[in-house]
């Protein structure tokens, strides 16, 4: 590579306005724009396919053999139950583990084992959690291919994400505030309950919303534990068979008829809307938090 130094460089910006520099900048911009335009095309294309199909009947009908009569009612309700249950199980466990690691854990081998283990679990493919759920909840605990088995599986999948996010925001709570509370005579649990948790809460909430947004789209582990692909009823109890929105979408995609592909596109629009709303909520919370902390 040959660069010409014309001696006119400013102190701050050492970029030369020669060809290779300009070319590299252009490549950099293109490699940012390319994935973003991909996202844009994906949304436009899916919207073009799916919007004509989106109507009240689509949201309130059960699946059907006839694409134009089929709807996502059982899938939508299944997803809502599933996410609610998962949140109920995973959030207390995740926050509890985070509090332990940040506030209680001593600096010993078991703590570092837990830490390495959590970061490793975050990298385990979701389908492996599906196999765990199949072996442990569906078979060993005899829960069958039920709503609760699905929620437990998703909870284990989300746990590392929630723990890591919650730890980050607990770390942000200034040490002085804890010390001030101790100086006033509060014991450890009181300090955590009255000082650390309320201050860390918005950050923890952001992490939880982001991981719930991910849970809504999870497909592979639910298929592995045996979520049904055709359900024409609403789940009645924890042990009912169930389906979920991404499963219903997958089922429609894997059918050859074009009519079902249109349904899949409409289902994707519902899924993306929910997911993007949750993301927006998380980003808004994070921005509010940044403003307040400074």
């Amino acid at each position: 590579m040959e660069e010409k130094n014309d001696g006119k460089n400013r102190l701050v910006d050492f970029s030369m306005n020669n060809g290779s520099e300009k070319a590299f900048k252009a490549i950099g911009i293109v490699s940012l724009i390319l994935p973003l335009s991909f996202l844009f095309i994906l949304i436009i294309d899916t919207a073009a396919d799916g919007i004509p199909r989106l109507n009240w009947n689509f949201l309130t009908s059960f699946p059907s053999r006839f694409p134009e009569k089929a709807g996502i009612l059982s899938a939508l309700v299944g997803s809502i139950y599933l996410i609610g249950l998962t949140a109920f199980i995973a959030i207390p466990l995740g926050i509890g583990a985070a509090i332990y690691l940040e506030e209680y854990a001593r600096n010993n081998w078991f703590t570092s084992l837990i830490e390495i283990n959590i970061s490793n679990l975050a990298g385990v493919p979701s389908i492996i959690y599906g196999l765990l759920g199949l072996g442990l909840f569906v078979r060993f605990m005899g829960l069958g291919r039920s709503l609760i088995a699905g929620a437990l599986t998703l909870s284990l999948l989300l746990l590392p994400m929630i723990i890591m996010a919650a730890r980050e925001s607990l770390k942000m709570v200034p040490l002085e505030l804890r010390e001030a509370a101790y100086a006033l005579g509060a014991d450890k649990w009181m300090v955590i309950r009255k000082v650390v948790l309320p201050l860390g809460l918005p950050g923890i909430l952001t992490g939880i919303i982001l991981s719930m947004a991910r849970a809504i789209g999870e497909t592979a582990p639910l298929i592995t534990i045996g979520a049904l692909t055709y359900v024409a009823f609403l789940p009645k109890s924890l042990t009912s068979p169930f389906t979920a929105l991404p499963i219903q979408i997958f089922n429609w995609i894997s059918r050859p008829q074009k009519g079902f592909h249109v349904n899949a596109a409409a289902g994707i629009l519902v899924l993306l809307t929910v997911m993007l709303l949750m993301n927006a909520l998380a980003i808004w919370l994070r921005m509010r938090l940044q403003k307040r902390n400074i």
């Binding site: 590579m1 490793n120 599906g130 497909t219 592979a220």
Partner: protein, 306 residues
């Protein structure tokens, strides 16, 4: 405040410390649960994998070149599934590495703080889109588009999901590489400038070599994601285990096979049921090795920079 009577102090202290201890151990159990999850994964996979290898020899698993457990003429050679996973992951990596790395360099070295602040959350959204959506897009948009350029591309193929998976992984590679590049100390750049290096030369001769282990870690984590990715390849790559490196024909990945069996009505305890755990075990080990290498590289990078 008046001095507390020793007895009273103890009274006050006792119930508090009981609650304290109770809370401490409940929280400890929450944290220890994560270790139990890992043990659970290993035990579940191991149990059925041992059952699998009582019927199928290691020799057949690793030396046979056909994978047909669902046919009457059964073969249990894992290589066709590994080839499918390797092919789609390779295609994903040659898409995401150049895109992700240049995006990372641009964001860290050229982009203004304002652009960084806007783009990073948008890229996060890209990484958070459900994979079933990417699968739909690969099958109904990218494959027909590619068929115009490559006429003999099959409806199910490795190329289209490979590229789409690459786009999905790009934000992960970009974000992790950017962290590494951004944390290279400014003094190193200034040193290179002082020696008369241009910005581009400084980036390629000083900044990137310094951040190399961090960047490599981001590639390996991306690779680990690609290997474990399920829905995109299940939807768009097909379900035909085939020992080939031709990206134009239908193939099957390890993850897609697990889904294929899970969708059917495979009774518990049969050899077909056990195959998915054996395949899952191999998948788990592959991603575990990738994650450990990435962990090691990241540690080396942090030690090198500080």
């Amino acid at each position: 405040m008046a001095k507390l009577v020793p007895g009273r102090q103890a009274d006050l202290h006792l119930p508090r410390s009981l609650i304290e201890r109770g809370v401490g151990s409940v929280l400890f159990m929450c944290a220890a649960l994560s270790v139990a999850v890992t043990i659970g994964i290993i035990l579940t996979l191991l149990l059925e994998t041992i059952g699998f290898f009582q019927h199928v020899s290691f020799k057949e698993f690793f030396l046979d070149t056909e994978w047909t457990p669902l046919f009457s003429n059964r073969h249990f050679g894992i290589w066709p599934l590994v080839a499918g996973t390797a092919l789609t992951s390779f295609l994903a990596m040659i898409t995401s590495i150049p895109l992700g790395l240049t995006a990372a360099i641009y964001l860290s070295e050229y982009a203004s703080e304002r652009i960084r602040k806007v783009l990073k959350p948008v890229l996060e959204v890209l990484a958070g889109i459900p994979t079933v959506v990417y699968g739909y897009f690969a099958l109904t948009f990218v494959t027909p588009l590619l068929q115009r350029v490559i006429p003999d591309l099959a409806g199910f193929n490795a190329l289209s999901p490979g590229i789409v998976m690459g786009i999905m992984i790009t934000p992960i590679v970009a974000s992790l590489s950017e962290d590494a590049i951004y944390s290279v100390p400014l003094s190193l750049r200034e040193g290179a400038f002082a020696l008369g290096g241009s910005k581009l030369r400084t980036i390629f001769r000083v900044v990137i070599p310094t951040a190399f282990s961090g960047i490599a870690a981001s590639f390996i984590l991306g690779m680990s994601r690609a290997v474990g990715e399920t829905m995109i390849v299940t939807i768009a790559a097909g379900q035909q285990p085939r020992l080939t490196l031709d990206p134009r024909v239908p193939i099957e990945t390890m993850t897609a096979y697990i889904v294929q069996v899970s969708l059917g009505d495979t009774p518990h305890g049969t050899i077909e049921y056990r195959t998915i755990f054996a395949v899952g075990m191999l998948l788990f080990l592959m991603t575990l090795i990738f994650n450990l290498i990435a962990h090691f590289l990241k540690k080396r990078f942090i030690r090198g920079v500080l």
